[in-house]
């Protein structure tokens, strides 16, 4: 019975996170003075970009409604929530009249592809290396630890610049800021090769930094926590083989805090990945966000932001639901 109670609590937190973040945005938007809408629209015109007049009219309408400048507060809040949760932001400005939902859907697989692969690989690699490295000679693990301590704090998008400098400029292996301009990738061989070639660097910059990050966390949690535990010492006393101890005692007890750590880090990983896309002009949500902000397309910006809040909270929920499967203490109260 207890585990259902655990799931129930987790789902409540999930809903609460989304509600709270949107309510926060709603409250912030209430402080927006009416004049700002005119200011924003005027600034786009001055940029000299041509916008379809109908787009401007719809944008003004949308902004008035978004900033809660019409109607009473309560039903406005619920319409606001409805719009944010279902990504109903009407048509985008930069690609008028295609609706916001569509252009996001177009770019979503890119980001999800890049993010899921890199986050999972680096987490698994980091943990396994972390456990293995410190088991072996301490010399290797000490040098690795030194590298990890320096790399760990650096955000992906800063490290991305280093990679560009090294692999695009010094040793020109990859296209400099070329990226994939074609919006919809036709699946020809050439495109595929080009696609893979230009997504290597973005993926690399995430994997290296977060890979070392997870390595650093798992080896320190292994050293400080697991190896001081009584059950670990008793396993050695019983003369169990070292790789049996590694598999059933060390790894399974190091993984638990690492899952919670991953859950807490998801927000940061997601934001970092968006920015890496901008640096490499990788055609995911990040680059779309960059162009939306550049073009003053507030509906698309808000669309991407609400999607990222929902996405990250959903990922955190999934991790929370996986956790009891690995930790019997939570499964059987």
């Amino acid at each position: 019975m207890k585990t259902i109670y655990y799931f129930f609590l987790r789902i409540i937190t999930f809903i609460l996170t989304i509600l709270l973040s949107f309510t926060l945005i709603f409250i912030i938007l209430q402080f927006v003075p009416a004049s700002i809408v005119e200011l924003l629209i005027a600034s786009y015109r001055s940029k000299g970009q041509y916008y379809d007049p109908k787009a401007i009219i719809e944008l003004r309408e949308r902004l008035y409604e978004l900033f809660g400048l019409g109607g009473n507060i309560v039903d406005q809040y619920f319409r606001f929530l409805n719009r944010f949760v279902l990504l109903e932001f009407g048509s985008s400005l930069i690609a008028f009249p295609t609706p916001v939902k569509e252009i996001i859907a177009l770019r979503l697989p890119w980001t999800v592809g890049l993010l899921s692969i890199t986050a999972i690989i680096s987490w698994i690699m980091g943990n396994i290396l972390g456990v293995l490295a410190s088991e072996r000679s301490s010399a290797i693990s000490r040098t690795l630890r030194a590298i990890a301590v320096t790399l760990y704090p650096i955000p992906y998008y800063i490290f991305a610049l280093v990679l560009i400098f090294i692999f695009s400029y010094l040793i020109p292996l990859f296209p400099l800021i070329g990226g994939i301009t074609t919006v919809s990738p036709s699946l020809t061989i050439y495109d595929m090769v080009y696609l893979i070639k230009s997504s290597i660097l973005p993926a690399l910059s995430i994997i290296i930094v977060s890979g070392f990050g997870w390595w650093f966390l798992s080896s320190s949690s292994l050293a400080q926590v697991v190896q001081n535990e009584d059950f670990y010492k008793f396993a050695i006393l019983r003369g169990l083989s070292s790789n049996l101890i590694l598999k059933r005692y060390t790894l399974r007890n190091v993984i638990l805090p690492q899952i919670t750590a991953l859950g807490l880090a998801l927000g940061g990983i997601f934001s970092g990945a968006l920015l890496v896309e901008v640096v490499f002009a990788y055609p995911g949500l990040g680059y779309l966000l960059y162009r939306a902000i550049l073009g003053g397309d507030i509906p698309t910006t808000l669309g991407i932001l609400s999607l990222s809040v929902i996405g990250v909270s959903a990922a955190t929920l999934i991790l929370d639901l996986i956790y009891p499967l690995l930790d019997p203490r939570v499964r059987h109260r």
């Binding site: 955000p155 970092g272 809040v309």
Partner: protein
Amino acid sequence: MISVVKRIMKIIKSDVKVYVGTLIFILLLIFALISFLAPSWHKAWYFLPRDQLPQLSSDPTYWLGTTTNGRSVFWSLARATLNSLIIGLVAATLAAHIGLILGILAGLRSGVIGAIIMMLADVFITIPPLPLHVVLVTIFKEYISLPLLGLIFVIPSSWAWPARQIRALVTSLREREFILTSLLSGNTTRRILLNEIFPYTFGWHLVNFLNTVLFAIGSEAGLAILGLSLMREDTLGMMIYWIIYFNPLYRGIWWWVIPPIVVLILIFVSLYLISTGLQDYFNLRFKR
């Protein structure tokens, strides 16, 4: 006062990480302060000849060469480092102190208030920081100034980490018997907070402070990449923005790209070294 300085020096020397980190950070600080000596024209565009290679001369203006928009890399980088540090300090001071107060409050009042604070903190931590920063900055673009940017980074979650950290520490301290002894020795709750609990939380407060400075500088760079930072000011983030915007590497101008990246990485490495070093130091002392 001297005893406090002596104690700090003792902590710095005790751990190689803290020692190296402090050294690098002091160098960066000096570099940032030099920006006050910058000539009045350092902000103007196209004042200097464009894309000059770095050359050593008496006047530091050319030490790091000039940019495509005719500005001295040296002076703009110095000013950018200063501004980024200011943003970091504004955000960190606020977040760490809010976190400290809420953490102690939640730690001592374990009832409903404590539960609400902690639930709020847990929820805020899962919200990705970038989206909320982007919303705030896009809307208030006209009013953005250095301190306000720092303020923005306090929301949503940078107060939450310190609050969780301090609360865990205070709840564990509360059970310790020396709190009872202090009570029986006639100390008021306020004095217990000051003499018994605060010496422990001070260490973690410092660590939280450093981590938040890192978080704020990183966030500013992130926003700048999206073109949402202070366009007219120099910050490390803005330098990255212009590098992406002008793409100097295309034309082989490397000396405009490398310095900001090096300074950013040095800031992150040095502050993080100090923070981990302090964490090890306090873990050791606290356990003893």
